[in-house]
């Protein structure tokens, strides 16, 4: 049985410009100790999906669908204890007026009733922060971006969560720092057995760390597969487009997917990628594709999957 099971998750926002359908019946799962990458361009509903897991969305959002962690719906109390988060901006995601130690200790106190200096130092060591005894009393602005992100991670894993949700954890960091953070995340699985839901648009990061990939586009899950299979046999044209946009040594010219992610107002009876797709047909514009196994054997949501008979 999987650790996290998401079934038909739908998220709507009421905004001043009208309703927005951010996530449209998304289903996926994460197994114990598994690293799953949720990928797509910005605006695809990845972050909204992540925040919806523990009801962290703003008040103007309404969430439908089933979310189960070990078979039960996670309570707000599960935040930080069973499901923990790491966000993109380590600069702004830490409270500027509280010390690093205080911000980590807070989680321990909340979920385990007590925190100790020794335990906080242990956590800082776990995420590879040098001189933890000194860092514990410092404020976020005294740390570098990479160190701040390590503090975020220490905070997130303080209570040994079953699932760690990392929303673009390396995007705001320098490339050299990125590798260090990814190492820390990889070690966590080995040391404390945490599963990781990694949200990113960076396929390099995905190839580096993920076991399985879930591709989202305009609020829908459009393809999912093991990481090697997906990179070898992309089935949905959008996935193919994403892979083509990654710079590789043999092929210096990047192919960008023309157009941009549409803002969905309501669910539609069309493929949401139709307007940007080079394989589009009348069927794509009138009938909603279903997520079903494609030519390569893994599920994709496309009427004209790649890799089949052309």
């Amino acid at each position: 049985m999987s650790l996290l099971e998401v079934q038909d998750l739908t998220v709507r926002f009421r905004t001043e410009e009208g309703p927005v359908l951010a996530v449209d019946e998304a289903s996926f799962s994460v197994a114990t100790r598994e690293v799953v990458a949720l990928v797509g361009e910005s605006g695809c509903g990845k972050s909204v999906t992540a925040l919806a897991l523990t009801d962290l969305l703003p008040r103007n959002a309404s969430v439908a669908g089933a979310i189960q962690l070990n078979g039960v719906r996670p309570s707000p109390r599960a935040r930080g204890r069973d499901i923990a988060y790491i966000f993109q901006e380590p600069m702004t995601s830490l409270n500027p007026v509280l010390t690093v130690g205080r911000q980590i200790g807070e989680v321990l106190k909340r979920h385990q009733g007590a925190s100790s200096r020794a335990r906080i130092i242990e956590l800082l060591e776990l995420v590879g922060i040098p001189l933890p005894g000194r860092r514990i009393g410092e404020y976020p602005h005294q740390l570098s971006g990479g160190m701040r992100q390590r503090v975020m991670i220490a905070m997130a894993v303080a209570c040994r969560p079953k699932l760690l949700v990392a929303d673009e954890p390396t995007t705001a960091l320098d490339v050299t720092v990125q590798a260090g953070i990814l190492d820390v995340l990889r070690n966590l699985r080995d040391e404390i057995g945490t599963a990781l839901l990694l949200i990113t648009h960076d396929l390099g990061v995905v190839a580096d760390i993920a076991d399985r990939v879930v591709v989202m586009y305009a609020g829908r899950v459009i393809e999912q597969a093991g990481v090697h299979r997906l990179f070898a046999h992309p089935t949905h044209p959008y996935t193919r487009g994403l892979l083509d946009a990654v710079p590789t040594p043999g092929r210096p010219v990047l192919k960008e997917i023309p157009g941009r992610v549409p803002v969905m107002r309501a669910t539609s009876d069309a493929c949401t990628f139709a307007d940007r797709c080079w394989r589009v047909t009348e069927q794509c514009r009138s009938v909603r594709p279903v997520l079903e196994p494609g030519p390569a054997g893994h599920p994709a949501r496309c009427w004209h999957p790649l890799g089949g008979k052309e």
């Binding site: 523990t54 962290l56 707000p76 109390r77 599960a78 935040r79 930080g80 204890r81 923990a84 988060y85 966000f87 901006e89 702004t92 995601s93 830490l94 409270n95 500027p96 007026v97 509280l98 010390t99 807070e106 989680v107 909340r110 979920h111 410092e138 404020y139 602005h141 005294q142 975020m152 905070m155």
Partner: protein, 318 residues
């Protein structure tokens, strides 16, 4: 850190010197001959000459100014011709009254202002926010002396619950002191409360959408911990600055409030001095107020740097 403190101290010192020049020049700008003013209406040339010699009025102005500053620095603010007492002594008697009133008023303002400000920000677009906003708008639009008159009318005359005038020190009889100061302190505090409320609300609205608040929620903290421990804690930095900036308004308000509730404080001393043409007293009162204002503002600024670690322990200026 120490450079910042040093700069603020030097700035405050310059301001203080300028303020003493203004006060000194102000008294020299009085219509007529200062010696004649000091001597009273009828005085013969011999008396005038004697006064000039005693007060050094026959010396050049810069010398007079330095002498004035030197005396003021040692606590000699001259003698009131009306009471015959040293000005410093009268001020010393009046100051505790005003301080007790001001501290009480600030406490009321901070409690009301921060409380309603937080409610207005958290209960966004609900009746609680509209109510809090309406109260703040009224607080800014109602002159505090009229609010005081109405309070006396309601709570001292129509329903005699509280005394309309008089002062009892908190150190003598805390209960009676509370009864006597409750109305004046509330009257003095409401205007400040309205300003604190507006600032708290807008700072809280910013803070509540900040990334670190999302982090705090994601950590599983309770709403109270998120709102009070994270969002409010950051907002307080702004609020403290506002209280510091409103200090002048508070002093002005104290003058009116003391006049209205017949409290023998600093403000009443000031107004009485104007109507009895007690110039040394006015000069002393103005100088002490300006000095207090500059010093307290310096303290608030330094306090601000203690509360905000970004200023306290260096790092990039934000």
């Amino acid at each position: 850190m120490s450079r910042y403190v040093l700069r603020r101290v030097v700035e405050s010192a310059v301001t203080l010197i300028l303020a003493t020049i203004v006060v000194f020049a102000g008294i020299r700008a009085l219509p007529g001959d200062p010696a004649r003013t000091l001597a009273g209406e009828e005085s013969d040339p011999a008396t005038l000459a004697a006064i000039r010699a005693t007060y050094g009025l026959d010396e050049p102005l810069p010398v007079q100014y330095l002498r004035y500053v030197q005396k003021a620095a040692t606590g000699d603010l001259g003698r009131s011709p009306r009471t015959g007492l040293p000005v410093a002594e009268s001020i010393g008697h009046a100051l505790p009254v005003t301080l007790q009133l001001a501290v009480f008023a600030i406490a009321i303002a901070v409690l009301m202002g921060i409380g309603t400000g937080v409610v207005a920000a958290v209960r966004r677009r609900r009746p609680a926010e509209w109510g809090a906003n309406a109260i703040a708008l009224l607080g800014l639009s109602v002159p505090n002396f009229w609010f005081g008159q109405m309070a006396i009318l309601a709570l001292a005359i129509a329903y005699p619950l509280l005394p309309a005038s008089g002062f009892v020190s908190v150190f003598e009889d805390p209960v009676e002191s509370f009864r006597h100061l409750l109305m004046p302190a509330t009257v003095l505090g409401t205007g400040l409360a309205a300003i604190i409320m507006r600032q708290t609300r807008s700072a809280m609205l910013d803070a509540l959408t900040a990334d670190y608040v999302r982090t705090a929620r994601a950590k599983g903290l309770s709403s109270a911990q998120v709102v009070l421990g994270h969002a409010l804690r950051n907002s307080l930095i702004v609020v403290i600055t506002v209280v510091g900036l409103q200090l002048g308004a508070l002093i002005s308000g104290a003058v009116v409030t003391e006049q209205l509730f017949v409290l023998p404080g600093f403000g009443k001393l000031t107004i009485d001095a104007v109507f009895t043409r007690d110039y040394p007293m006015i000069q002393g009162v103005v100088l002490v107020t300006a000095t207090a204002y500059i010093v307290i503002n310096l303290v608030v600024d330094l306090l601000y740097s203690v509360i905000d670690p970004r200023i306290r322990v260096g790092g990039p200026a934000l």
